[in-house]
Symmetry: D3
């Protein structure tokens, strides 16, 4: 039985993240989406809001759970009995960083392997950072996030 974790900031979840989630849910028996609580960064959304947005937009997927964690991914994965960490890859600079993290994680937890999907071409340009930038100026992000997240962004920016 394959249990995968999909860790990330998800500030907020985008159409690109959902694409990875739906494809992972087909391949693994169970997928745990894990929102990283990182005290060093100042996110736009609270951890609760992030978890809520992912739950709302993945409720059609039976084998998906959404939660949050702090600390090292390898420790969280061990608690979840996960044997795979799932990551999406977009660009070459992503790849190098992800490669380094995958190597560190396999060193720290020998039971945890990392597998990569490449982002579907129609979401290759989407990132949470760009979505927030465009939404903050009232630009149209309806192709980049699910409708529920679009609403949450409008509320945040008061537009």
């Amino acid at each position: 039985m394959s249990i995968a974790v999909y860790p990330g900031s998800f500030d907020p979840v985008t159409a690109g993240h959902l694409d990875i989630i739906e494809r992972s849910a087909k391949v693994f028996n169970k997928l745990v989406i894990a929102v990283l609580v990182n005290s060093a960064k100042t996110p736009l959304f609270t951890t609760e809001e992030k978890v809520d947005m992912i739950r709302e937009t993945t409720k059609h997927l039976n084998n998906v759970e959404v939660t949050s964690f702090s600390g090292l991914l390898v420790d969280f994965a061990r608690e979840q009995n996960a044997n795979v960490s799932v990551r999406g890859l977009r660009a070459v600079t992503d790849f190098e960083y992800e490669l380094q993290i995958a190597q560190i994680n396999s060193k720290l937890n020998k039971q945890l392997d990392t597998m990569f999907f490449t982002t579907s071409i129609e979401y290759a340009y989407v990132s949470s950072t760009i979505v927030k930038e465009i939404a903050s100026y009232g630009g149209d992000v309806s192709d980049m996030v699910p409708p529920y997240v679009e609403e949450c962004l409008k509320k945040k920016f008061g537009k």
Copy 2:
């Protein structure tokens, strides 16, 4: 049920390939290793020799099959009812090429997704091409291929 194909030239199979095979066999229910018959290239080993070397070095893995194919991977995957194509990633230039192939394949066969493992760090420098180059000059490749393949290389090069 997840059925994965792992396509490649495998001329010959290396310790790096075996690392990907063993890790894939843990994640997927069934793994089909598929030697690509490419009439345009002149390989060192025949297709039969390549298949034999992989079978010999993966016989401890129950859910692994070894075969060969010609034509498009997407057609072969459809015949095998595979929903995942597995690829190993080593370097940035690998990544770009693999990304392009993954996008083409998902366009040609919507049922086939591509997942990537990154090569374990101890095999990051190993490739079939380098193994053949070193073996052709009588250099030591015992860390780079399984013992059975090392013997096959010695026979080929008459050393």
Copy 3:
């Protein structure tokens, strides 16, 4: 007045090339598409067939000319009074090679600058090489080339 050349092998012209051609035709007063005659490579199509396919698929563009050349691009551009060489960029490895060529060309012909478009996202995976590979196995390339080129490929491969 800006006169641009767009040099390439075009073996055959793809939907990605046409995208660059249409976008260039909007920006420059005149665009000269220049099929490189390279005796060192064995193309699938003859130079005449390549020129014919481009003419047929660009006849709706008034300020576009199609021709062929051999020798150095910088000499051809000088004959055409062109001040810009247009290139499409897809990937990081493309970029490095193109950067080197642009620097050499600006050294050899100070009147010739190089400008780059990035491939539209829906054609990011398309290349002449991949189109030929897929068409040779009877795969579907209708999204990757114009209908006229699709017919030419079918004739070539007798399918």
Copy 4:
């Protein structure tokens, strides 16, 4: 008629930027240099100082205008009736970021295309960040910025 915008931080304008400006001014009918007002960053120079330095060093170019903007580039370009956004490319990591931005912008404003020049080789190492770092320690930046900007840097750092 081709109208191009060249957006950037220009904190301060460097010899590399001027190289792109002079080459763009030859290709397009009109070039609008647009200093981005980004409230999130703390620049060394004020927007007014940045605009002044660019005006002073481009006054020999008839078809160049200098101004500032805030918000999304696609909206600013629409107001200016610009059909091209000009960008300079130096390195591979630049390229990936610029590619993403170009794709987002073409999605948000279909009338706006992005064209890239590669930095001339003698300015390949120059960036505003490095210029400020060197100037802050009293190092020699006379090859990296125009004389007027060198004076402005000396005043800023009181040297």
Copy 5:
């Protein structure tokens, strides 16, 4: 006589840094390890602690000196009569940045050349940033830093 400087933040020195130091000490007559005092960043360790950790872990190397510097590397190298700056390279994005710095430095000090070692494969994943992140959560970094540095990290994080 070759005198090399090896500049860096060393916050803290890692097994990867030590690998570069030991290899450099074999090639050059004298090696000066130079801790950069950068007022803009907030390091975990003080400059004194950083110098102490490097001295402690390099005391078996006769031709190595450890010191700190502020300002431009090229000025420091001139004071030390150094003709080489040594850098370790891990990844492609490292490489681009390092290439730019090497070009700037050779411009500012013609007597100073830059030479690169690539990190040994077993330390390819190690960086000061990742070491601090793992140590802050009580993770095991004994393969990534010398024992003396591991102790210093435990004291810092009170674990």
Copy 6:
């Protein structure tokens, strides 16, 4: 005492190679330039011509020797008592390949380390392949090779 080898095809030696040679000759006690005899490739110049061109253009350097070798670099380096292999780096794709070779070589010969110089900016665009391409069409390569090599190229191409 540091003895370095600088291996390569040198078909022919370019101004970029000479730049690396002169810089290496300053750092190492002795530099052995080693022309690789590769039976698989068809070079423009014979091994004797290649060695002759390098000897002719490096005769002002006292600590430089020029020779040829076949087989594995690690074996040749051992015979020469060399402890360093010198390589020039130009681009990101160069870097990845060179990194792989460096790791293989350090595995095969623990006494041999690899050090990299980055090409000086004025030669960043120069390669033997491009020099041959331009010279074959009678283009001007006087900035890219020493005068003696320019003469040899003219003789080869009968121009």
